[in-house]
C-alpha cells in the first residue's frame, strides 16, 4: 500500500533552470511586451561592451530593430568585439547560467550568464524562431553562422544549422539576430533611452541605432581612451557569510588553514592569518576541508574581529569625473544645459566583502523641463537601469537628501526634487546587490545609501555655488545696464533740455553700484581658449588688488601675452598683481590657454585677495589653503563708503491698481 508521501514523491521531479525561467520569465525582466524588447537589446549590448573592454577594443555597436508583423520584431545587435570561438558559441547563446564571469570577483556588466541565452529563449517561446549568431575571431579566416535554440528541458543548446561564412571586411566581431514579440515605444523607458544612457556612461563606445522606421541615430565616441582594464580579485573577508565560507573551505586546493586564508582571500597576510587562527583557537596547519560547523563559526567570528585592509580597488572601473562630464555633454548637447556640476567620483568602499564606488553627476538648466521632477539616471556597472526606480537605493538616497539646500524644489525636504535637472548616479561594484535577477533596482544597503548621499551632497554643493553665482551676477548685470546704458542716456537728454554740457557720471555710477564688478568670458578659437576678465571699478576710490584663477595645469600660453601673471604654479593656480584701477575705470585681463580640447575648460574660477570681499562681485575671496607666496592680505586702506540713505518707498513698485473701475 503506497502512502501519500510515496504518491507525492512520484510527482516530484527535477526541473531544469531553463524550464524554471521559461515559466517565471518576469524574474529576468521579460514581463511586458515593451520591456521584453528593451531587455533583449540590453543583454546583447551588455555582452558586447564587456567583451570589447576585456579585449581592449573600442566598442562599435549597431542595434537594429525591424518590424516583422503586428507583434513580431527582428532585432540585430552587431559588435566589433573579439568574437567567440566556434565551440563556445552554442553554450553562450543557448544555455542558461553559462558564462565566464560568475565566479570572478571583478566589475563587469553581465555576471550570471543568464541574459543573452534568456533573450534567445524568450524569442523562441514567443515566435518559435531560432536565433542566428554570426561570430568571427581575429585568429580565424572564416566566421561561423549558427542557428541556435535553447532546449529548455535539458538547459542545453540545440544547433539547428551551422555554416562557415566569409564575413566581408570584418576582422572580428559578433552579430546576433533574433525574433521576438514585443512593442516598440519611445519615451523614458525605451530602446532609444536605454542606448542614450548607455552612451553617456560608456563615452569610449560608438553606438548606432536604427529604429523600426529606418531612422538612424549615432552616439559618437566622446573619448578614444579605453577605461582601464579591471583586475580579478579574491573575495574580501569582511561581510563574509557562513555558507560561502563553508563552500570555499571545501573547494579550496590549499591544504592548510593558514594558506587557505592567505591565498583564497584578498588582504589577508601571513601575520593576519595567524591572528585569525589564534582568535578562533584553530591551528594554522589544520586542513580547511575538515573543519566542522563549530570551527567554521569560530573562524567567521575571528575574521570579523580583526582589522582587515579595504579590498584592492583596481577591480573597479569608475568612469571618472572628466568622462562623465564628456559623456553627458556628448549626449545632452542639443538641450544646451546651463551647467554641468563637476562630477564626483568617491573612493571605493566595501559592502559585504565587495568593493564598490559611487559616482554622481548633475546637469542643470537650459532646455531641461522646469516644473517637473528631476530626471534620475541610474547606472550599475555602466549599465542603465530603466525600471523599478522607486525600489532602488539610488532613488532612496536622492529622496533622503534635502535638495532645498542645493537650489532645487522639494516639498518638506524629502522626496524626488523638482527642477530643471538631471541627476546621474553610477554604482560600480564587483557585485552589485540587485533586488532581483532582472537587475532593475539596487537593494537598499545602508553602506551604499550613505555613500550615495555623500556624493550627492558634494555634487549638490557645486550646483548651489553655481546658482548663487548666477543670481549675484544677474542682479549686478541689471545694475550694469543702468550705469552703462540708461544713466548715460538720462544725462544726455537732461543736458540737451537744459542746454548744458553732458555731466560727469562717475559720482552717480559709483553710488548706484559701489562694487568692483568682474565680468568674464571664455571662447575657443583656433585650438586655443581665450579668456577675458574685465574688472570694472565702480567704487568711489581707486582699487588695487590681486586676482587668482585656477587653470588647467600646463595650459597657460605665454605667447603674445601683454600683461604677465606674477605666478603660474604647476598645479594651474595663477596670480596676477593688477595695476591700480581708478574709480569708474576698467581693466581687461586677456590671456590664452593652449593644448586643451574645447570642452576641457568652459568656466573661469576667479578669486581675489587684497580687497575687502564685500566690494567684489564675480570673484570669491581666496581660500585660506592657497598659501600664495609673497602675498599679504591687506585690508583696502579706505573702505568705500556705503551710501547712507533713508529707505524710501519705491514709487514704481507701489503696485496698487490706480484705476477706480
Amino acid at each position: 500500500m503506497s502512502s501519500i508521501a510515496d504518491e507525492l514523491a512520484k510527482k516530484q521531479k527535477e526541473i531544469s533552470v531553463s524550464e524554471f525561467f521559461e515559466r517565471n520569465r518576469h524574474i529576468l525582466g521579460f514581463d511586458s511586451q515593451i520591456k521584453s524588447l528593451i531587455m533583449g537589446i540590453k543583454e546583447a549590448v551588455d555582452n558586447s561592451l564587456d567583451a570589447c573592454e576585456e579585449s581592449g577594443i573600442l566598442p562599435e555597436i549597431i542595434v537594429m530593430v525591424e518590424k516583422v508583423d503586428k507583434e513580431e520584431f527582428r532585432v540585430t545587435v552587431e559588435d566589433n568585439g573579439p568574437g567567440i570561438i566556434k565551440k563556445a558559441i552554442p553554450n553562450v547563446f543557448g544555455r542558461l547560467l553559462y558564462g565566464s564571469r560568475f565566479h570572478a570577483v571583478r566589475q563587469s556588466r553581465g555576471q550570471q550568464g543568464i541574459g543573452i541565452s534568456a533573450t534567445v529563449m524568450y524569442g523562441q517561446i514567443t515566435t518559435g524562431k531560432p536565433a542566428v549568431v554570426v561570430s568571427k575571431t581575429g585568429a580565424e579566416d572564416v566566421a561561423w553562422r549558427m542557428e541556435i535554440m535553447v532546449n529548455t528541458k535539458k538547459n542545453m543548446p540545440d544547433v539547428l544549422k551551422e555554416d562557415p561564412f566569409i564575413w566581408d571586411g570584418k576582422e572580428h566581431g559578433t552579430k546576433i539576430t533574433y525574433h521576438m514579440n514585443g512593442r516598440y515605444v519611445g519615451g523614458k523607458q525605451s530602446v532609444m533611452e536605454y542606448l542614450k544612457q548607455t552612451a553617456i556612461v560608456n563615452p569610449h563606445s560608438r553606438i548606432t541605432f536604427v529604429d523600426p522606421d529606418g531612422r538612424r541615430t549615432t552616439f559618437e565616441r566622446a573619448t578614444d581612451k579605453m577605461p582601464p582594464a579591471t583586475k580579478e580579485i579574491k573575495p574580501h573577508p569582511s561581510g563574509l557569510e557562513l555558507g560561502t565560507l563553508m563552500n570555499m573551505s571545501k573547494d579550496t586546493k590549499n591544504k592548510t588553514l593558514g594558506k587557505f586564508l592567505q591565498l583564497d582571500f584578498s588582504r589577508i597576510s601571513d601575520r593576519l592569518a595567524k591572528e585569525i587562527c589564534d582568535k578562533a583557537g584553530l591551528s594554522m596547519e589544520v586542513n580547511p576541508a575538515k573543519l566542522n560547523l563549530d570551527d567554521q563559526k569560530k573562524l567567521l567570528a575571528a575574521i570579523a574581529a580583526v582589522r582587515i585592509m579595504a579590498p584592492p580597488t583596481d577591480c573597479l572601473s569608475p568612469i571618472g569625473a572628466n568622462l562623465i562630464k564628456k559623456g553627458l555633454r556628448n549626449v545632452l548637447d542639443d538641450i544646451r544645459p546651463e551647467f554641468y556640476a563637476p562630477p564626483v567620483t568617491r573612493d571605493p568602499k566595501v559592502h559585504s566583502g565587495n568593493p564598490f564606488l559611487i559616482e554622481v553627476g548633475i546637469v542643470y538648466g537650459g532646455g531641461l523641463q522646469k516644473d517637473s521632477q528631476v530626471q534620475i539616471l541610474r547606472f550599475a556597472n555602466r549599465v542603465p537601469l530603466l525600471y523599478q526606480q522607486g525600489a532602488c537605493v539610488i532613488t532612496k538616497a536622492i529622496e533622503n537628501t534635502d535638495w532645498r539646500r542645493y537650489g532645487l524644489e522639494q516639498r518638506g525636504g524629502s522626496g524626488i526634487p523638482f527642477g530643471p535637472a538631471i541627476i546621474l548616479v553610477h554604482v560600480a561594484s564587483t557585485k552589485v546587490p540587485f533586488t532581483s535577477e532582472a537587475k532593475e533596482a539596487i537593494a537598499t544597503l545602508p553602506e551604499l545609501q550613505a555613500e550615495i548621499e555623500l556624493a550627492l551632497k558634494i555634487c549638490g554643493r557645486s550646483l548651489k555655488t553655481h546658482l548663487n553665482k548666477r543670481e549675484t551676477k544677474s542682479k549686478t548685470r541689471v545694475k550694469f545696464e543702468i550705469v552703462q546704458e540708461i544713466l548715460p542716456l538720462i544725462a544726455q537728454k537732461s543736458a540737451k533740455i537744459v542746454g548744458k554740457p553732458i555731466p560727469k557720471l562717475s559720482g552717480s555710477i559709483t553710488k548706484i553700484m559701489n562694487v568692483v564688478w568682474i565680468d568674464d568670458a571664455v571662447t575657443f578659437e583656433k585650438g586655443r581658449h581665450r579668456v577675458r576678465v574685465s574688472i570694472y571699478n565702480y567704487t568711489p576710490t581707486a582699487q588695487k588688488f590681486n586676482l587668482h584663477m585656477v587653470l588647467p595645469p600646463g595650459a597657460f600660453d605665454y605667447k603674445g601675452l601683454q600683461f604677465f601673471p606674477t605666478e603660474v604654479r604647476d598645479d594651474g593656480k595663477a596670480t596676477w598683481d593688477l595695476p591700480k584701477i581708478a574709480s569708474t575705470e576698467r581693466f581687461d585681463l586677456n590671456f590664452a590657454l593652449s593644448g586643451l580640447n574645447k570642452d576641457d575648460y568652459d568656466e573661469n574660477e576667479i578669486y581675489s585677495s587684497g580687497i575687502n570681499p564685500i566690494f567684489i562681485i564675480g570673484a570669491e575671496p581666496i581660500p585660506g589653503d592657497w598659501d600664495v607666496k609673497g602675498m599679504q592680505i591687506t585690508e583696502s586702506e579706505e573702505a568705500p563708503v556705503v551710501e547712507d540713505e533713508d529707505e524710501e518707498v519705491d514709487y514704481d513698485e507701489s503696485t496698487e491698481a490706480l484705476n477706480d473701475d
Partner: protein, 364 residues
C-alpha cells in the same frame, strides 16, 4: 507763447534741471512724488474733496524700473517742449505710439505713458492740457434744457441748447470744457441726473424724464472721463444745480459715484476741479434690492474683493457707505439699473426716481 504755455515749459525744464543737477553733483538721480495709492488720499476740508496725502515715493535710478521711467520722463519732456513750440497737440495714445521711436525709453503699455503724463501734472501743478496732451473722445453726452456756447474748431462761438438743438444721442461733451472753450449760459432745469449706463440714459430720454421733471441728464459712460466730471461740477457750481448719481447696484458703481462726488484716486491731485462734493447717490442702493425685490446676480469673487477694498477706502469711511457695503455683502447680491424694468418700462420714471428724488428733497 501764452502765459500758460510759458509756465508749462518752464516747469518741465525744471524737472530736467533737477535731474541734471543731481547727476552733476554725483547723486543718484531721482524724483519724489506723492504716492498715488488708496492709503494716501486724505479729505481736504477746504474743498470738500479727497486729495493726496503727505506720503511720498521715490522714482530713482537705483533700480532699473525707476531708471527707465526717468529716461522716459526725459524723452517726454523733450517731446512736450517741442510740441508746445510747434503749436501742435497730440492724444495720449499718439504719445504712446511716438515712444516707439525712443528705443530703450519706449513705453511698454499705454497705461504707463498715461500714468507718466499724470505724474508730470502732479510735479508741475499744470494740467495735461497745458502740455497739449488730450485724451481720446469718450462719447459721454448731455440731454436737458441747458444752453451753452462752445468754441468750434474754426474758432466760432456756437450757442447750443442741449434739449432743442441736439439729436437723440444728445450733446457730446468735448475733451476740453474749460471756460475758454465752453460757457454755461442759462438753464431752466432744476437738477442734474448723472447716469452710469447708456441703456438707462436712453430710457429716461425716451420717457421724456428731462422735460417732465426739468432735469439735465448726463450719460457717464461707465467710469466718467475728466471732462464729464468737470462739466458736472461746473453745472453744480455755476448754475447751482443739485446733482444726483444713478448707477447699477454693484461695488464698481459705488466707485463711480465716489469719483464724481469725492474725487478719483488716480486724479486726486486735481480733485478740487473735478469732484462735486454735494452730489448724492440715488441708487441702485443695496436696500433697493430688497425693498423693490429686484432681479439680481450673485456677487462674484472679484465683487466681494472690491467691496472689502472699499471698506478700507477713506472715501467710503462713513456710516452710510459702511451700511451699504455691508448690506450688499450680507445679501451677496447685486442688481443692474435696468432690473427696474421688472415692473414695466415706465416704472423708473413714474415711480422709482420721483419717489427717491422726493425723499431726498430734490423734488418738492
Amino acid at each position: 507763447m501764452t502765459e500758460e504755455e510759458n509756465k508749462a515749459v518752464s516747469s518741465l525744464k525744471e524737472i530736467a534741471q533737477s535731474i541734471y543737477d543731481q547727476i552733476d553733483t554725483g547723486k543718484i538721480p531721482k524724483m519724489t512724488l506723492p504716492l498715488r495709492t488708496k492709503s494716501n488720499i486724505r479729505f481736504d476740508p477746504k474743498h470738500g474733496v479727497f486729495k493726496y496725502g503727505k506720503a511720498t515715493g521715490a522714482r530713482s535710478a537705483k533700480k532699473v524700473n525707476g531708471a527707465l521711467m526717468l529716461l522716459r520722463t526725459m524723452y517726454v519732456l523733450e517731446f512736450l517742449e517741442d510740441m508746445i513750440a510747434d503749436k501742435k497737440s497730440s492724444t495720449l495714445r499718439e504719445m504712446y505710439y511716438i515712444s516707439e521711436g525712443w528705443e530703450k525709453a519706449k513705453f511698454s503699455s499705454q497705461d504707463e505713458s498715461n500714468m507718466l503724463a499724470e505724474d508730470l501734472e502732479i510735479v508741475t501743478a499744470c494740467l495735461r492740457e497745458d502740455f497739449k496732451l488730450r485724451p481720446e473722445e469718450n462719447g459721454a453726452s448731455i440731454i436737458g434744457d441747458i444752453t451753452i456756447s462752445e468754441m468750434d474748431r474754426k474758432g466760432r462761438l456756437k450757442t447750443i441748447n442741449c434739449r432743442d438743438d441736439v439729436g437723440d444721442s444728445g450733446y457730446g461733451i468735448p475733451n476740453n470744457v474749460e471756460k475758454e472753450k465752453l460757457q454755461l449760459l442759462s438753464t431752466n432745469a432744476k437738477f442734474v441726473v448723472a447716469i452710469e449706463t447708456g441703456g438707462m440714459f436712453d430710457r429716461l430720454v425716451e420717457n421724456g424724464f428731462d422735460e417732465r421733471y426739468n432735469a439735465v441728464l448726463v450719460h457717464l459712460k461707465g467710469q466718467p472721463a475728466r471732462s464729464t466730471r468737470r462739466i458736472i461740477k461746473r453745472m453744480n457750481e455755476e448754475m447751482k444745480l443739485p446733482v444726483v448719481v444713478f448707477t447699477d447696484g454693484d461695488p464698481w458703481s459705488f466707485r463711480i459715484f465716489a469719483s464724481v462726488a469725492y474725487g478719483a484716486i488716480k486724479t486726486a491731485h486735481i480733485s478740487e476741479f473735478l469732484a462735486t462734493p454735494t452730489a448724492e447717490f440715488i441708487g441702485i442702493t443695496a436696500s433697493d434690492i430688497t425693498n423693490y425685490k429686484l432681479p439680481t446676480d450673485k456677487l462674484t469673487e472679484m465683487d466681494v474683493r472690491a467691496l472689502h477694498a472699499e471698506l478700507k477706502d477713506p472715501r467710503f469711511a462713513d456710516e452710510y457707505w459702511r451700511g451699504e457695503i455691508e448690506t450688499m455683502l450680507k445679501l451677496n447680491k447685486k442688481a443692474e439699473q435696468q432690473a427696474l424694468a421688472k415692473y414695466g418700462l415706465d416704472f423708473v420714471t413714474d415711480k422709482y426716481l420721483p419717489e427717491k428724488l422726493t425723499n431726498m428733497g430734490v423734488l418738492r
